[in-house]
Amino acid sequence: MHLQILQVYFSDMALCVAVVSKENAPKYVTSLNPEDELQIQYEIHSSIDFVEEKLKTGKKDMRDLYLGLLYSTEDHKIYGYVTNTKVKFFVVIDSSNLLLRDNEIRFMFRKLHTAYTDLMCNPFYIPGDYITSENFNKVARGILTGNS
């Protein structure tokens, strides 16, 4: 019973998950609804500037990789996270989704970061390539659907 409630709670957690390289080129994008993917991609793209600015203006304390809410529109909220190697993770959620709190978003990013670290450990993955790893995809899709 408890599990079921959790399922409902976590369903449709995020709309889109994206990984952007340190050169600001997309390395992985997956979204829940293909029809609004382009719009979301535009929004993520436009949020990169802000992330760059944040990195430049030098947060002294780089221990917190979570950047928080980057941009919100009528439909979407975009959250950012940046690794120490300046690889950016983006999670887009529905603006009307009021159930998700900061901690949940942080948890998503942590999961994503772990998956990314695992990917980097794979000797067959060339850093900088588009991410096609099945495991990573599984994690990312899990974040989208909340069934992780």
């Binding site: 050169e23 600001n24 080129a25 997309p26 994008v29 382009l38 991609q41 535009y42 929004e43 793209h45 436009s46 949020s47 990169i48 500037d49 802000f50 760059e52 600015e53 944040k54 430049k56 203006t57 941009y71 919100s72 529109t73 009528e74 900088g128 588009y130």
Partner: protein
């Protein structure tokens, strides 16, 4: 959240009046006097009006000294349009009040003047509530050199007249200063008036939308009183700010904030906070100090150009540093620092956002705050402030929405957030063409889309594009370009649409899949149907240049190879550079190799000839799923003039590696640089440069073009003038052909050299083929369209000896018939095995000495039946020729005719031996011959002697041959060398002597073919040599003092002389050495025997005769022309016929006999 709060605090109905935000507003505008400058009438051109407006705008500051002696700074803000609704907010923020009005117009007639005056007055009425003063500037009347007209009676405004709108009249500035100061004094008076009022008696100031809310409010309540007081204080602060009392304003704002905060008057509190921020900023950084530095942040777009970014860390340029204690001390205590300004502004905006009707104030406030942050380069704050703008719910027309988006984009790009800027530009572009927009403008949309390219790290120049998605967001880039194509198409500019679509196909090819590629290609062909694309820059009306784009991938080039001229047309250097035949040295050290590798020459090793077609092979693939018609494929060259010949091809769907031969003709001597090719496909002309094609490693190919050269043609013709290249000859046969050389070019040939190349050995080649080149010089020069004919002689030189020689052991059966005397007198043949052993070294050496190639072929004859195999020899007749300018430049051409010659065996000698003939001057060469042709053959082997041979049949023929005169040799030595020398001499002798003339009847009516077989290379053992050669000695014999044999003279007839039995016969024997050299170790031996003429001889005559003296003698040396003398006697006991065999052994193994043996008939007495 925000909307819910605003719904509570204000009525949901919108006030339509205040809904036009001024996006240009800055915080400094809080301290300005607002003046409307209006253009009236049609007479004045808007260009002139704008010029004048700019002039007016410059007079925006005025310093006046008031009664107390303090200098006051008056600032003005001029605008062209002002909605009355905004004016109504003047109570809320006094800088929104329109205080002054200036109209500008021009007229000539009274009617026009009247109309202008009317309009001016009506404007005054429109802004009546706030207007203090107005000016009406009119050009063209009531001035010197212009008509005098009078204003209507109801015109009460101050009118200023000028003659011409073009003439810059300095008095305008003066008038404006006066006007400005008049406004200021009125305002200052108002301020004084307000400041003297009792705050508690003040009426409630309200924002326009609050009118409804106050109905029913208890105006006398304590809270309301407080609110009233707070608002008035704020109003006073505003006035102080406008009239230049900044410090007072600061204090009043502070008071008002405290008051209003306590009574939760959020909107006015927001206004106060904003005013406080504005005042603080004006004190911290007066507007005239504000540097207008267009500080362009190093945008991330430029990152890839400049890796090392420089960005000043101090962000407060032109700004009074707060850290400076001295400055700090002079500042008011309640002054806000920049960070506090952000904080307070943020709070103000938060309060504004609680009111649905305060949208304009909120929007303007956000932009104002953002501008402060921009000036201080606090980009993150800019972002936070701007983020508030878009969600503000305002009823705006599409045009205004676009304006808002554009303003956001502008601010974002100002701080280097190009991605953000392009995002808003994208939204704006969509708004321009949205279905709800009644004024759809694709043109505007297109222009906006072009502007957003930098944000996506795109440029319209394909050369700037980096494939692979390392920069920018590939998916969005494609989307943007796609939208540009669409917009250009909708604008109706087909050439632009084609260009953009070509760009899309060129640069983003890598990210498309097969179907998309075909779809885009189809789209392009539809677009280009309206306007053909060509690789030239397009210039837009606004001066933007769109660089050319090329279809590099349609068709996709796979390979590009520049071709040498055809083999027979290739120019060669007349004088060959010295070839390096030295040893090949290798060193792993590379001295100075770095420089060498950098200067890599793309120059081809070969040359092209002027005016002669040359080729480049291009391999193309069609990546599309429909048939691709590619026309006009041309080579692109630089340097020397080159005429490229267009080529067209239809590429079937998805075909790969289709060869296309591009031809062209060099028209000038020099160097041609081939740097690409051009195509025309899908209605687009493209220049595909090699540097852009990844499949081709080189960026250019350079080919030298040399001056013109002659061309000739050569054929080998037979007697019927048929061109031949294949000749079959029987061994020993000879044929003649002609070599026809014709000059088919237009340049006469001055040099002609003919050489023959083949794999066979030189001397053999000369014996097989011969070209009459002796008088070749006489033919030169060969003028164009003429020809010469040279003879070619072919001989079927082939070894007639089969490699399967086998000993003629059975010849022994013939022996008896041919020999006359007993077996011991005959040089015995060695046993087959013995003979093979002896011959083998010699055979090998003789084979090696020249005809190796033939003999190697011969060696294939394993069995006697395999002897019909023929030999094929390829001859390459090389004709080297030159002439004209090409020859002067040091080039020649080489044409070669190949002649393949099949030589088949005719007669094959499979075995041979020698036999003594009946006479001493001749011997028989016994040959086993085989007719290896397929026809019957007649073989004539001696005078009057011929034999008909069936095909493949072996025959044995005796050929009488004159013996080799051994004394013709200068020296006969007993050594090995002498032996070999003698053998070769004998061989030569036999080859010269024996001519086997064979003839074969052809199948057709052709004349019979014939040839002569010569027996070179017969191997002879020493015993055979003795027969082949004449004896080196002469015999001279006296019997009983009577000369019976003397070979020195003419041959005596050997009469059988009769001698009585029992009588002593005295034999005197002289052995003459006829050689030029001495003979060593000469042994003479006499041997009597009886021949029964039935094949048996009897050598055992011990009891039939007796000899006196030795029958054997030895001497160590017989000198040349000397002789050996021996004497002995013999007595025969019985009558009968006896024979005497005289043999002389010398040179170790040679035995020479007296031939025929001496015959003695002994008769009974």
């Amino acid at each position: 959240m925000r909307s819910s709060v605003s719904a509570i605090l204000s009525t949901p109905t919108q006030d339509p009046n205040m809904s036009h935000p001024d996006y240009e507003m800055t915080v400094y505008d809080h301290g300005t006097l607002l003046i409307l400058v209006k253009h009236l009438g049609e007479e004045l051109s808007s260009k002139n009006f704008n010029r004048l407006f700019e002039r007016i705008c410059r007079i925006n500051q005025l310093r006046v000294v008031d009664g107390t002696g303090t200098e006051r700074c008056v600032q003005a803000r001029y605008i062209k349009e002002y909605p009355v609704g905004n004016n109504d907010w003047g109570d809320f923020q006094t800088h929104r009040r329109l205080l002054g009005l200036i109209t500008v117009s021009k007229c000539k007639l009274q009617v026009e003047l009247n109309e202008i005056c009317r309009l001016h007055e009506s404007l005054k009425v429109k802004y009546q509530s706030t207007l203090y003063d107005s000016r009406c500037i009119i050009f063209g009347v009531n001035a010197p050199n212009s008509p005098e007209l009078s204003t209507p009676s109801n015109f009460k405004s101050r009118d200023v007249y000028y003659a011409s709108d073009n003439d810059p009249n300095p008095s305008i500035e003066m008038h404006l200063n006066e006007f400005l100061s008049s406004l200021f004094w009125v305002l200052d008076a108002k301020r004084l008036e307000k400041s003297k009022e009792k705050f508690d008696k003040a009426t409630l100031l309200i924002a326009p939308f609050e009118k409804r809310n106050i109905i029913g409010l208890d105006m006398e309540s304590r809270a309301n009183k407080k609110r009233c007081m707070g608002r008035v204080t704020k109003h006073l602060a505003d006035l102080n700010l406008q009239t230049g009392f900044l410090n007072d304003a600061l204090n009043f704002y502070q008071t008002a904030i405290d008051t209003l905060r306590s009574c939760n008057d959020w909107l006015w509190l927001g206004g106060c906070l904003e005013g406080l921020c504005a005042t603080s900023l004006m004190i911290l950084q007066p507007q005239n100090q504000q540097t207008k530095s267009n500080f362009q942040r190093n945008a991330s777009l430029q990152e890839r150009h400049s890796r090392f970014k420089f960005r000043p860390l101090s962000t407060n340029t032109g700004f009074v540093s707060l850290d400076d204690n001295v400055v700090r001390s002079t500042m008011p205590q309640n002054l806000l620092s920049v960070d506090d300004i952000y904080k307070n502004y943020g709070e103000a905006l938060k309060h504004y956002s609680k009111y649905l009707n305060a949208g304009v104030v909120l929007t303007e406030g956000s932009l104002k705050a953002a501008r402060i942050a921009v000036d201080h380069h606090h980009f993150i704050h800019v972002h936070y402030f701007l983020q508030n703008v878009l969600p503000v719910n305002l009823t705006l027309t599409d045009e205004e929405k676009i304006q808002r988006l554009m303003k956001l984009a502008e601010l974002y790009s100002e701080i280097g957030f190009h991605r953000k800027a392009s995002f808003f530009q994208w939204l704006a572009s969509k708004r321009y063409v949205s279905a709800s927009n009644p004024h759809t403008s694709w043109e505007q949309c297109y222009q906006l889309l072009l502007k957003m390219l930098p944000g996506h790290k795109l440029s319209l120049d394909p050369n700037d594009y980096v494939t692979g998605g390392q920069f920018g967001w590939p998916e969005l880039q494609r989307q943007v370009v796609n939208e540009i194509v669409l917009a250009a198409k909708r604008v109706g500019n087909a050439s632009l649409a084609t260009r953009h679509c070509t760009f899309l196909l060129q640069t983003m090819w890598w990210m498309m899949d097969k179907i998309e590629r075909s779809a885009y290609a189809t789209q392009l062909s539809v677009l280009s149907a309206q306007c053909e694309g060509s690789p030239v820059p397009l210039v837009l009306d606004n001066g933007l240049v769109i660089p050319p784009a090329n279809l590099l991938n349609i068709p996709q080039p796979e390979n590009f190879s520049v071709q040498n001229l055809k083999l027979h047309l290739r120019p060669h250097k007349l004088v060959k550079a010295k070839e390096d035949f030295g040893p090949f040295l290798f060193t792993p050290l590379k001295f100075g190799s770095m420089e060498k590798y950098n200067i890599k020459s793309n120059k081809m090793e070969y040359v092209w000839v002027i005016d002669e077609p040359c080729e480049v092979i291009l391999e193309l693939s069609n990546p599309l799923n429909f048939e691709l018609e590619v026309t006009n494929i041309l080579l692109l060259t630089n340097g020397a003039v080159f005429e490229s010949i267009p080529f067209s091809i239809n590429l079937p769907p998805e075909i790969s590696y289709q060869n296309v031969v591009l031809t062209g003709i060099p028209k000038e001597v020099g160097e041609i640089e081939i740097n690409g090719y051009s195509t025309h496909t899908l209605g687009v002309k493209s220049n595909c440069r090699l540097k852009n094609i990844t499949n081709v490693p080189e960026t250019t190919y350079n080919v030298q073009v040399i001056p013109s050269m002659p061309i000739l043609e050569a054929f080998i013709l037979d007697s019927k003038n048929d061109n031949i290249s294949n000749v079959t000859l029987f061994a020993g046969e000879s044929l003649d052909y002609n070599l026809k050389i014709s000059n088919i070019g237009s340049i006469s040939i001055d040099l002609l050299e003919i050489s023959i190349e083949s794999t066979i050995e030189h001397s053999l080649k000369n014996s097989i083929i011969k070209v009459d080149t002796e008088n070749i010089k006489d033919y030169l020069p060969i003028i164009p369209k003429s020809e010469i004919v040279l003879g070619i002689h072919l001989t079927g030189a082939l070894n007639f000896l089969s490699s399967n020689q086998y000993p003629l052991a059975e010849l022994n059966s013939l022996k008896s018939s041919l020999t006359i005397s007993g077996p011991s007198s005959y040089p015995s043949l060695p046993s087959p095995r013995q003979r093979n052993e002896r011959l083998s070294p010699m055979t090998a050496s003789s084979y090696r000495s020249g005809e190796s190639s033939l003999n190697s072929n011969c060696s294939r004859y394993r069995s006697p039946t395999d002897i019909t195999s023929l030999k094929v020899i390829e001859f390459n007749i090389k004709i080297k020729y030159a002439g004209g300018e090409g020859m002067a430049a040091g080039y020649c051409r080489i044409i070669s005719c190949t002649l393949s010659l099949n030589i088949s065996n005719s007669v094959l000698v499979t075995g041979w031996d020698v036999l003594q003939a009946e006479t001493g001057s001749q011997f028989y060469l016994v040959l086993d011959v085989v007719n290896v042709t397929n026809q019957e053959m007649e073989l004539k082997y001696a005078t009057n002697k011929s034999i008909l041979m069936e095909e493949k049949e072996s025959y044995r023929i005796p050929v009488p041959v004159d013996r080799f005169l051994i004394h013709s040799l200068e020296q006969v030595s007993s050594g090995e060398e002498g032996q070999a020398d003698m053998v070769s001499q004998c061989n030569k002798h036999i080859a010269e002597q024996v001519l086997l003339r064979w003839s074969v009847n052809s199948y057709d009516d052709l004349p019979p073919r014939w040839g002569v077989a010569k027996l070179y290379g017969l191997t002879l053992c020493p015993q055979m040599l003795d027969i082949v050669c004449t004896s080196p000695i002469y015999w001279e014999i006296n019997l009983n003092e009577e000369k019976i044999v003397s070979e020195c003279d003419e041959k005596l007839l050997s009469e059988t002389s009769q001698y009585p039995v029992g009588q002593q016969l005295k034999l005197q024997i002289w052995v003459h050495n006829s050689l030029m050299s001495p003979l060593d170790d000469v042994t003479l031996e006499l041997n009597f025997y009886q021949d029964y003429l039935n094949g048996t001889t009897n050598n055992q005559l011990g009891n039939r005769l007796a000899t006196t003296g030795s029958t054997k003698t030895y001497t160590t040396r017989v000198n040349e022309h000397d002789r050996l003398y021996h004497e002995c006697s013999v007595i025969f006991f019985y009558p009968g016929q006896y024979k005497l065999n005289l043999q002389c052994q010398t040179l170790k193994q040679h035995i020479w006999k007296l031939i025929p043996p001496l015959q003695l008939d002994i008769t009974a007495e």
